[in-house]
């Protein structure tokens, strides 16, 4: 924790608004630009190494106080509007600082535990926020992807608790994770979404095995989790028994809202970096750059509204799937721009920087698959926003 000694602490007044927070954080980022350079333009060889490096930035932000703003005091935070966190994330990327990978987990699962199980959050959240822990999502199964309600991992009552049996796959961040949200069936096999329960499971529990899955880039973004009679105590339920679907829906509004905001900030950073490095006389380049930029801004404007609505305490509905549709287009546009505008430099490079560019490119394809594939998002908007006749008739 010595890193925190090298920077000034955040000294903010309670109730600080977003513009003032942004100005103060910008000033801090500028002042400590030399310290923060350690997280600019870095290219760790693996996701595990990246997570270790990122954890130091999490500690720096937490210990200096900036990372605590927007989190309730009950979980170790400094209080204030949750949207302060979205400002912080945006400004890190705007200053070309790689957002710690743990933020995916902090902003979605950390928020969920804080909302639904403040007692667990009090115990575990500070470790998540400082990178000593990492939490993963365990929802998809080999035969339940888009049709998640058909999942088969079973949770059977055992004394006060439950025992889990089954298999999860495509679990983001689980390869290096310590705990996971696991959605399992507590109802009958035919109960679909009504018979599911959400558990908060320690990944080092006996009977549980995690196998990393490398994305085509070689980075272990994913994993599968095998559950063989894994005991879970009763106090590790998130939500009610058979109430797992409601928990998942709540989670999805963060995944499609605040997470989408976080991603667009990264895309804007990547676009800026790409354009500044580029030396091209390709006559098609201006239009392609402009088009990608506009796609990012479209996502930025829409997700900013979503973040504001969440911050105002609104429950978000199916409309957040629109954010994911927009984000997917922006993700693909920026990733393809990097490849198309400098094909020689992009495609034939064995440097560590290139490995990360390849990872960005493969990850962009994943963004329209995880958290509900693009087709599923469109189906949700079609049914529940536009209220079109359903496909099933």
């Amino acid at each position: 924790m010595t890193a925190s000694l090298s920077v000034e602490p955040a000294d903010l007044e309670p109730g600080i608004d977003l513009p003032r927070f942004r100005d103060r954080f910008r000033a801090w980022l500028r002042k400590h630009s030399d310290v923060l350079a350690a997280w600019r333009d870095v290219h760790p060889a693996s996701l595990e190494e990246a997570l270790r490096h990122d954890a130091k930035l999490l500690v720096l932000l937490w210990e200096s106080g900036w990372g605590k703003w927007g989190w309730p005091e009950a979980v170790g935070g400094a209080g204030g509007a949750a949207a302060l966190r979205s400002v912080l994330i945006d400004e890190l990327w705007a200053h070309d600082i790689e957002l710690p990978h743990q933020y995916d987990s902090i902003e979605i699962l950390g928020q969920m535990v804080t909302d639904l199980r403040p007692d667990l959050a009090q115990r575990f959240f500070p470790a998540l926020a400082t990178g000593r822990e990492l939490w993963a999502q365990g929802f998809s199964e080999p035969e339940a992807g888009s049709d998640l309600a058909s999942l088969r991992t079973r949770a059977t009552p055992d004394g006060d608790g439950f025992r889990l049996n089954g298999q999860k796959i495509w679990n983001s961040l689980a390869a290096a994770g310590n705990r996971a949200f696991v959605l399992a069936r507590t109802g009958t096999p035919e109960s679909r979404h009504r018979g599911l329960t959400m558990f908060f499971v320690d990944l080092d529990t006996p009977g549980l095995v995690v196998r990393p899955i490398a994305l085509a880039s070689g980075f272990n973004h994913l994993a599968e989790i095998f559950l063989d009679d894994v005991p879970v105590p009763a106090d590790r339920l998130i939500g009610e028994v058979d109430g797992g679907w409601a928990v998942l829906m709540k989670l999805m509004q963060y995944e499609r809202g605040t997470y989408a905001w976080q991603r667009q900030a990264k895309l804007l950073c990547r676009l800026r970096g790409l354009v500044s490095r580029l030396d091209t006389d390709d006559p098609a380049a201006p239009a392609e750059v402009g088009r990608a930029y506009l796609r990012v801004l479209a996502t930025r404007a829409k997700t900013a509204n979503t973040v504001r609505r969440l911050d105002a305490g609104n429950t978000l509905g199916p409309d957040t799937s629109v954010d994911k549709v927009l984000l997917g287009a922006a993700e693909h546009a920026v990733a393809d721009l990097a490849r198309d505008l400098d094909p020689y430099g992009f495609l034939l490079d064995d440097s560590a920087a290139a490995a990360h560019r390849y990872d960005d490119w493969w990850f962009s394809r994943a963004t329209t698959i995880f958290g509900g594939a693009g087709e599923v998002q469109r189906g949700i908007v079609a049914d529940r926003v536009l209220r079109l006749p359903t496909e099933k008739g």
């Binding site: 804007l268 506009l294 079609a382």
Partner: protein, 307 residues
């Protein structure tokens, strides 16, 4: 403005634009539009031009927006806009009204913004692609005398005027795009083929969703462009609105089938009017190239939207 005020305003705009023979600009004066505009320029302008678009009408309201930025009185003046694809008038431009009905016109020439006496201009009415509405092609030969006296607008007057015009046009395009999308949703939900509504087929549904998403984004971007206030943000808003129009029009024309391509169906009017508004003060195609060029030549991509 609160919800009740907004609803009242929308209702009166609807009845104004629905009565075909009234001049909307004059009717708005009677409505006391100026006060609403002053109280909340962003919301009033967006409401006004969105309704304008929803009714696919023509008027001189855009001139008012542009002239207000120039600091010119709209009572006896008009604007000659650059021809589509250009950023200034060389020898010909586009007007929304007959220049003969006003004393002077404002026009951006290569040398800058000029107020010209309209008496020397020749103009001819054209329907063109926008079959039901009249546009004016105006010849502006070199040496057209300036109007007297010549007021000196501030040096950034035209840039600001273009930005204001683009924000208004973005809203008008949203109105048009919304009608096209709603039409397509209605048609595909009612039209039954192979035993079910065609909106139950996934390719049809996904096209409609794509259109809805880009229109929603365009609306959010326009709100941000008002907050930001810069010409850059206005260009972004116009470009995204233009893209939304293009995407939705393409989907709507496909999904409404043959009837949507006929004179008997009202879709064509929205497609036509949208096509001209998309070009006026810069199309999506033109703007994305221009914005992209600025980014490639050293401008750090503006974030435009802030929380």
């Amino acid at each position: 403005m609160d919800n009740a005020d907004r609803q009242l305003l929308i209702e009166s705009l609807r009845s104004t634009f629905a009565s075909a023979d009234a001049d909307p600009a004059a009717a708005l004066d009677e409505l006391g539009w100026a006060e609403a505009q002053e109280a909340d320029p962003a919301e009033a302008t967006t409401l006004l031009f969105t309704e304008h678009g929803r009714h696919a009408v023509t008027s001189s309201l855009l001139d008012r927006v542009v002239l207000a930025e120039i600091g010119a009185d709209h009572a006896d003046a008009a604007v000659v806009y650059p021809p589509f694809g250009a950023d200034h008038v060389t020898d010909e431009g586009v007007a929304l009204v007959d220049p003969a009905t006003v004393a002077s016109v404002w026009v951006q020439r290569e040398s800058g913004l000029a107020q010209l006496s309209s008496g020397e201009l020749s103009a001819r009415p054209v329907h063109g692609f926008d079959t039901a509405r009249t546009w004016w092609r105006v010849r502006v030969p070199a040496g057209t005398p300036a109007a007297t006296p010549v007021p000196q607008p501030p040096p950034d007057a035209w840039e600001r005027a273009v930005a204001a015009g683009r924000r208004a046009l973005a809203a008008e395009l949203h109105g048009i795009t919304e009608v096209l999308l709603q039409n397509a949703i209605r048609h595909t939900s009612e039209r039954v083929q192979y035993g079910r509504p065609i909106a139950a087929y996934q390719t049809v549904r996904h096209r409609l969703v794509e259109g809805h998403a880009v229109l929603e984004a365009a609306r959010s971007v326009l709100d941000s462009a008002w907050t930001d206030g810069s010409p850059w943000a206005a260009a972004v808003a116009k470009a995204v609105a233009g893209t939304a129009y293009r995407d939705v029009a393409r989907h709507a024309m496909q999904l409404c089938g043959a009837v949507g391509l006929t004179r008997e169906h009202h879709q064509h009017g929205f497609v036509e009017r949208g096509a001209l508004l998309e070009e006026l003060l810069g199309s999506a195609r033109h703007l994305e190239r221009e914005l992209g060029y600025r980014l490639l030549t050293g401008l750090r991509a503006p974030a435009v939207v802030e929380l």
